[in-house]
């Protein structure tokens, strides 16, 4: 599954469904796709009729050896690529794809360290792949997810993350709006939240953080202040373009 190819592959949109008011799951059929590990990303290239090209990196929500890959894209208001992928791409349309990419932010089932996943907003996508792989491998290594999002309606894959067969429990955290009857008030993750909701340094977890740059900065600094080693923290930031 770690085979790498140097060529741009053509993917055609095979399935799509909305995840939230601003996000969409899109699954491409990609002949020649070599499969991917959970946490890998893919570069997507679009070419305009005048030859202008843009490339963006997206995490892959799916995992395994098939020739289909699922992405989950949030529409960025000022984005150049994401509005097109969320609103305009139709079934059968094609894009160019390069990957799978990035062995650093990957989780492999043979790893033995406990795993803490911390997602900010659409940063949950690589963790969907990791929790899927964890469940399908029947893995007994502890894995848990802390998912920070603005409001309940912003959740990606809520049903999947909440279903009984999920082997990695999810802790939900809301920064702007909480569900009715929620015991906590809305607010950004604090050091105290991270201390109570994540695996402690004594368990020496490998912690993966994915989200907007500011979120990743804040959370990784807080974890270091709680006693986690910098080399046990892996980050994936995404920019606002």
């Amino acid at each position: 599954m770690s085979r790498r190819t140097n060529a741009w592959l053509t993917g055609s949109l095979a399935r799509a469904h909305p995840l939230t008011a601003s996000a969409r799951s899109i699954t491409f059929a990609v002949p020649g796709w070599p499969g991917n590990d959970p946490g890998h990303h893919v570069d997507v290239r679009l070419t305009a009729p005048d030859g202008y090209q843009v490339v963006r990196s997206y995490s892959i929500a799916s995992t395994g050896t098939g020739e289909e890959i699922e992405l989950a894209i949030d529409r960025l208001p000022d984005g150049e690529v994401s509005p097109f992928l969320v609103d305009d791409l139709e079934l059968g349309d094609t894009v160019e794809l390069r990957g799978p990419l990035g062995g650093w932010f990957v989780w492999r089932p043979e790893q033995t360290q406990p795993v803490q996943l911390i997602a900010g907003g659409s940063g949950v996508v690589p963790f969907i792949a990791m929790t899927r792989a964890h469940a399908s491998a029947g893995n007994s290594i502890p894995m848990q997810l802390l998912y920070s999002l603005r409001a309940p309606c912003d959740a990606f894959f809520r049903d999947e993350l909440s279903q009984p067969s999920a082997t990695a429990p999810t802790t939900w955290h809301y920064t702007r709006t909480v569900p009715p009857g929620w015991s906590r008030s809305a607010g950004r993750l604090t050091v105290k939240d991270l201390k109570s909701e994540t695996l402690p340094p004594e368990q020496v977890p490998l912690t993966y953080i994915c989200g907007p740059t500011g979120f990743v900065e804040t959370v990784s600094r807080a974890l270091i202040s709680l006693g986690h080693a910098a080399d046990n923290i892996r980050t994936e930031r995404f920019g606002g373009i």
Partner: protein, 95 residues
Amino acid sequence: MNHLDGNVLAGPGMGLFAFDPTTTQCQCQSCADIATLGQAMVYGQPMGFVARCRYCDNVLVVIVEHAGQKSLNMRGLRWLRVGDEARNDRISAGD
């Protein structure tokens, strides 16, 4: 300006190396910090990718992809060490 992580260099680095450069260890020429390239801070788009040291901001690597060509500058690295895992990736790439 928001920065990304060294992970994002995996795509642009394809074809430049026989292994995934983002999982390799490297040492900063300026401050001698040793880190995996995936841990670097990357300022990307639209012209290219500039990877800076996570501690001292020294420019480690610059990759520019344009008009079907790539250029690579690595003058900010003292060395780059390819681990067994990356080598395994390379071996399995050939099978």
